[in-house]
């Protein structure tokens, strides 16, 4: 008797999970691999946003359930992860992080009609291919490149300029953008070169930079290579100013480069931590002993936009949510945000930052 009761209770518990339809949201990004620190930021942002929404009653009583999936910033694994979350009936996707993962994965989501909001993929191609259900809360590399080029020319940061990239979709895209923006301003670089992602030794390329007497280096790539490049450059006595993009915005950059990181310039989004509207949320993070740096609040905003769109659409149907996301504006931690026809946000442009003592502050 007791056994039957026990078994039937167990079955009831299982059933209740199914009966209460939740809103399934998948967060996909580099959970492992050398960019896992970015995923950490994304995870903190997404979990905090979901906790806040669920605590205030969820979306019309439905709780948001977050599923985490790993793409390791590897295009092949990204497609596999995309197929997995698609078949697990995710209502929306927050991610991916690396452009090289987001672009192939977006095709899977577009085919399944699931809206996808990337908090960190800046390659223009992501939203330029006419996919209606692809969005991002971050800026685009062509905007970023234009800001970098304006700063280089306007502030006379260097006269003999070298452009180096890491051959990744993101790094090369950004470096190409800076190159054409500089050339359009009549500035010609003296040296172009590439490094390989995962490389540790940059001594040869640094000797090359030294022999070309370069006084400014733009690097398109991520923090790991950027950190080693500038560290080894200083060891070899190269005094040029270095500049990179949003891929450098991780605290590890400071620990990899050490004192060599001082003076490294970086284009990055205006820091959302300084938004008056974000103050309460930032405080919640800091109270929980977490500094909401980098992409944390961009992911937070992506979750908010998705949840509001579901609320307005009154359904988790991918098509309806996509239509809602294109309409109207959303109150997010980044400010009031509206997506254009391509899926890009109407955000403020990038800002140039300078690194000092392992932290970055806006350049004066």
């Amino acid at each position: 008797m007791l056994k039957t009761l026990y078994a039937s209770t167990a079955i009831l518990v299982m059933l209740s999970g199914v009966a209460n339809a939740d809103v399934n949201l998948a967060l996909v990004g580099p959970m492992t691999g050398q960019y896992s620190s970015f995923f950490d930021q994304m995870k903190h942002g997404a979990q905090a946003a979901i906790a806040a929404i669920n605590a205030s009653g969820g979306i019309k009583g439905q709780k948001i359930v977050l599923e985490l999936e790993d793409d390791a910033c590897d295009p092949k694994q990204a497609v596999a992860a995309a197929n997995k979350v698609t078949s697990a009936n995710a209502g929306g996707i927050i991610g991916h992080f690396c452009s090289s993962s987001s672009i192939p994965a977006s095709e899977v989501y577009a085919e399944a009609g699931i809206p996808m909001i990337s908090p960190g993929s800046t390659n223009p191609k992501l939203t330029d291919r006419g996919m209606k259900s692809v969005f991002r809360t971050c800026g685009r590399d062509d905007q970023q490149a234009a800001i970098a080029a304006t700063a280089i020319v306007g502030k006379k940061l260097g006269s003999k300029i070298a452009i180096v990239d890491d051959k990744s979709t993101y790094g090369k895209g950004l470096a190409d953008g800076v190159r054409s923006a500089l050339n359009a301003k009549g500035v010609k670089q003296v040296l172009d070169d590439t490094v390989t992602q995962g490389d540790k030794d940059f001594s040869t390329i640094i000797s090359r930079l030294k022999s070309a007497n370069v006084d400014f280096v733009f690097f398109g790539g991520y923090f790991a290579e950027a950190g080693l490049l500038v560290r080894q450059a200083r060891e070899q006595g190269l005094k040029a100013t270095f500049m990179g993009g949003d891929g450098v915005a991780a605290t590890e950059f400071g620990s990899i480069a050490g004192p060599a990181s001082d003076g490294f310039l970086m284009t990055f989004y205006p820091d959302p931590r300084n938004n008056p509207g974000a103050a309460a949320i930032v405080k919640t993070f800091r109270d929980a002993k977490y500094e909401p740096e980098g992409y944390t609040l961009y992911t937070y905003a992506a979750v908010t936009a998705y949840a509001d769109a579901v609320k307005r659409a009154g359904s988790t149907d991918g098509g309806k949510v996509t239509d809602e996301l294109h309409k109207g504006s959303y109150d997010t931690v980044l400010g009031t945000m509206a997506f254009d026809a391509k899926g890009d946000p109407n955000m403020e442009p990038f800002v140039v930052y300078v690194w000092k003592d392992g932290k970055y502050t806006p350049m004066k």
Binding site: D193, S203, T204, S211, L228, R231, E235, E252, I256, P259
Partner: protein, 304 residues
Amino acid sequence: MAYFLQQTINGLTLGSIYGLIALGYTMVYGIVGMINFAHGEIFMIGAFISLIAFTALGLIGITWAPLAIVLVLLIAILFTAAYGWAVERIAYRPLRGSFRLAPLISAIGVSIFLQNYVQLLQGAKLRTLPITVTGGVTLFEQDGFVVRISTIQIAIILLTVSLMGVLTVLIEYTKLGRSQRACEQDMGMAGMLGIDVDRTISLTFVIGAALAAGAGLMVTLYYGSVDFFIGFLAGVKAFTAAVLGGIGSIPGAMLGGLLIGLVEAYWGGYVSGAYKDVSVFAVLILVLTVMPTGLLGKSHLQKV
């Protein structure tokens, strides 16, 4: 000229590291006739142990660089050698006498295992070491181009030369070295003459791992950052170095290492940084097709 000299310094530093790893490949091949594809991972473990040892020494207050480096070298050799020994004992010895491909496949398995083992225990993140050795010497200046050799580059070359010296003495003048050379010539006969073959082979793995630990320490100091994946590329390049020098030949491994380092530096310096790794592997293909015994190898045909 100044530029050429700078690239030579870069190449020699890189080549020293490859050479030390290559020794492990070549010694094992010389004695048991197998390619230990897990050797790159042993090097990676050496780098991690160095990093952990540096952090631990920092905690107990030993921060004077020369003392810390010597202590870390000893610690790294001690622990990495244990891994080298264990790998041989667990994955290769039971397969000795089996068909030729068996230990090779086992080696690839060990390599994947060790990579994932470190990834799980240490995390996938890049681990960093604050800069311990700073400074350098400006050799001369020509047309505004400064030729510089950093203290750490000098330390790497010195450490390599001393480890090579120790190894040469070990192989040429000790009982262990004689047993090793005997086993290399004819394992069965050596066994019959009273040489403990199992022990000799174990010790070969231990020495190879110790040298890889030295290389791991240098990489940790030189680049200041380590991740679980560094063993792969370094391992393949060191393998190329061993093949170029003539696999099985100890001076060959060192020479091959230096040459591979120089090829990489000159290619990156004069052609393009983009195909630096391609240049190294082009050498591998060229040597295997044109001169399979390498520069200093013996010309008896053996297939892997």
